[in-house]
């Protein structure tokens, strides 16, 4: 399929003054992308998610990161954090706050690192997510110019979360951005990273982000991805994690917004006692399309994974869950659990769910299950017996369904935000509007 001319032109314009290593990566990315183009439903991995419309879309690039405080405040999480803010892909120094940067931690916009000492990132960029990972990873490599570079120093336990906020404006001409996030957790470090994608109503941009996370032995990372793009946006994210011995990675993949959303999340458990927890919540309404592909590679013995993805779909929304657990030959004594549960709130909502287990070792414990179902009738009765009408009882139980994932969120402000957003997205007939408000003693 042919690509828009402006895009082809952009692929061949190397930003001036860049080092050769970067230009080389860009050229390789551009050439790979030009060969494969945007995926279509003929590609197995994109069978349910149609990206072909992007081939005829024409996205500009943002030329300023200006945003007034009122618009910013309306979108941001009110959280005590070390904060980098990007507006349509461009770094906004004015809206960022690096004062809370804890000792032993480096957080910088990618552009700044590229302009300075690039030695470290020249090896890091693309090491985990190579250009052949997907068309979008190739496109990101070809066009990225901004993002974040994060380094958690050896043995540092960082309480203050690192908060990356990507704001998508409602522009006259839609723009595209290709943020690159490079994270390095040094040995025995501990940190929390929040990636927050917030779209203004009506924003119709394309965000195509790649996150590469390297975890040295005995490091721990809590990763939150809160995706609240507008319902007219394309959002594509590729997250890849390299886990060494004794590492612990917890992912909270919370997807509430977007017109067409695709997340690819891959964890490589490369040495003993590496543990990954994958928690996911997606909620689609109207014509939203949310696709989550996850992959856990147990490349070493005694590695552990636990995955729980929950989906709620209303209106004509469509969800996709594809979860693959791979256990390498002789990777013994592995535990791998996977669950995907979905609730359909309307007859026209749809879910395609596909768990995949691929096991080449004999001493392992694995399970997977998917349910697409109904609410517990006994619980509905118990609520009605307290005077709560049936619709509201169903609403409460739908919120409860999401709660199983939300209650694992370790930041009060984030929990509240997500819970309110979920309650707010539930159909009016459930009448839950006033329920979720301040109920603290």
């Amino acid at each position: 399929m042919s690509l828009p001319e402006t895009l082809i032109k952009r692929l061949h314009e190397a930003p001036s003054g860049e080092p050769e290593w970067l230009s080389e990566k860009r050229r390789a990315g551009a050439s790979h992308f030009e060969t494969v183009g945007f995926p279509t439903r003929r590609d197995e991995a994109w069978k349910y998610t149609d990206m072909s419309r992007l081939s005829s879309a024409d996205f500009a690039q943002a030329d300023s990161a200006e945003l007034d405080h009122a618009r910013f405040d309306a979108l941001r999480l009110d959280i005590d954090a070390c904060r980098l803010v990007f507006v349509d892909g461009l770094f906004s120094e004015a809206l960022s706050d690096l004062h809370r940067l804890p000792e032993g931690v480096e957080v910088s916009p990618l552009s700044r690192v590229m302009a300075g000492d690039q030695q470290a990132i020249s090896e890091q960029l693309g090491r985990l997510t190579a250009i052949d990972f997907s068309a979008f990873a190739a496109l990101n490599t070809a066009l990225t110019g901004e993002g974040a570079v994060i380094n958690i120093g050896k043995g540092k336990a960082v309480e203050t979360p690192i908060y990356l906020l990507f704001i998508s404006r409602n522009n006259t001409t839609p723009v595209m951005s290709h943020p690159r996030i490079l994270v390095r957790c040094e040995a025995e470090s501990e940190a929390t990273l929040i990636e927050h994608y917030a779209g203004e109503q009506g924003a119709a941009n394309l965000t195509n982000v790649v996150t590469e996370i390297e975890m040295a032995p005995a490091s721990r990372l809590s990763h939150y991805k809160l995706q609240e793009a507008s319902q007219s946006e394309y959002h594509v994210a590729s997250i890849q994690v390299d886990q060494q011995r004794d590492t612990n990675f917890t992912s909270h993949n919370l997807n509430l917004g977007g017109a067409v959303v695709r997340n690819d999340l891959i964890s490589d458990l490369n040495d003993e006692n590496a543990t990954v927890d994958l928690l996911g919540l997606f909620f689609g309404q109207d014509r939203q399309h949310i696709d989550n592909h996850t992959k856990v590679n147990h490349n070493a013995p005694r590695t552990y994974s636990n995955e729980n993805y929950k989906g709620i779909l209303d209106g004509r929304a469509r969800g996709v869950f594809n979860g693959r657990v791979y256990i390498k030959r002789d990777a013994q004594q592995v535990l791998g659990y996977q669950n995907n549960a979905n609730l359909l709130l309307s007859d026209r909502a749809e879910i395609d769910t596909k768990p995949e287990l691929e096991i080449y070792a004999d001493d392992v414990q694995c399970s997977h299950g998917t349910t697409t179902g109904q609410l517990d009738e006994n619980a509905i009765f118990a609520l009605r017996a307290r005077g709560i009408d049936e619709q509201m009882a169903r609403g409460l139980l739908t919120l409860a369904f999401a709660n199983e994932v939300m209650e694992r969120i370790r930041h009060g402000e984030l929990t509240d935000r997500v819970e309110r957003a979920v309650a707010g997205k539930l159909p009016d007939r459930f009448n839950l509007e006033s329920l979720v408000e301040d109920t603290s003693l």
Binding site: A385, A400, E404, S434
Partner: protein, 250 residues
């Protein structure tokens, strides 16, 4: 307040209740006792409006209204509230949400606005402290991981918040140790007043040492075989149910 007349009910085609007649007036506390299989839980289920029970004959009137015409939630909103023998665990639904939505549903049915949040929290705080419960429990899921005693306390807490006209307590003493029993009984006793009635269904007399009934009814084979005052319960405890069965129906 509650008037049951010649009530017959079937479960999966077999008749369990075979003509119950019972009147409960405001201010009264009644106990229904009886051996296993007499129909106690069927009577509770019919009053609560559970599916799968068919009333084939007779009537139930609550506050002048035909109870059988009321939906489950309408019964609760009108003030008939059931304390369950086996309270259901509802993962993910916080207690505070259950209490808030139940109270506001009741208020809406009475044409009242929602209770403002500060007032609501004050009310809840007072009631949980009365039930000797920890406030952290409000943000836990309904009954999830609760012990038997905690579940029953939670049932009574809901009653204290919702202030029913008629509280139905189905085997509320089952699974309770003596301390929990005292707290539960105190909760129930605090509900007693001249405008409210309480109906307890129980297998054992034990509960009645803590909550003294005005009237005791013995349910045998789907009928009320004998009624009396609280001394009847003591007699049942001492002599068992056999002698009632052998006596001709009252």
């Amino acid at each position: 307040m509650l008037e049951i007349k010649d009530l017959h009910a079937t479960v999966e085609g077999s008749e369990i209740l075979k003509g119950i007649t019972l009147t409960i007036n405001p201010g009264e506390v009644h106990a229904i006792m009886g051996p296993n299989g007499a129909g106690k839980s069927t009577l509770s289920a019919v009053l609560a409006g559970r599916d799968g029970y068919e009333v084939t004959q007779g009537s139930i009137t609550f506050d002048g209204k035909d109870l059988m015409e009321m939906e489950v939630e309408e019964r609760a909103q009108a003030g008939l509230l059931m304390g369950f023998q086996y309270p259901v665990e509802i993962p993910g639904v916080k207690n505070i949400y259950l209490l808030k939505s139940a109270l506001n549903a009741q208020r809406a049915a009475q044409g009242l606005d929602e209770m403002p949040a500060p007032e609501f929290m004050k009310l809840i705080k007072e009631k949980i402290s009365f039930m000797k419960m920890d406030s952290s429990f409000l943000h836990r899921a309904v009954n999830e991981g609760f012990s038997g005693g905690e579940k029953k306390r939670n049932e009574i807490l809901q009653m204290l918040v919702l202030q029913p006209k008629l509280a139905l307590l189905d085997e509320i003493d089952s699974g309770l140790d003596i301390d929990a029993m005292k707290v539960v009984a105190e909760g129930v006793n605090s509900l007693r007043d001249e405008n409210r009635a309480i109906l307890m269904v129980t297998h054992y007399q034990r509960l009645l040492n803590h909550i003294t009934p005005d009237q005791v009814h013995v349910l045998i084979d789907g009928r009320i075989a004998k009624s009396g005052d609280r001394h009847l319960a003591e007699e049942l405890e001492a002599r068992g149910y056999e002698w009632v069965i052998e006596e001709p129906a009252a």
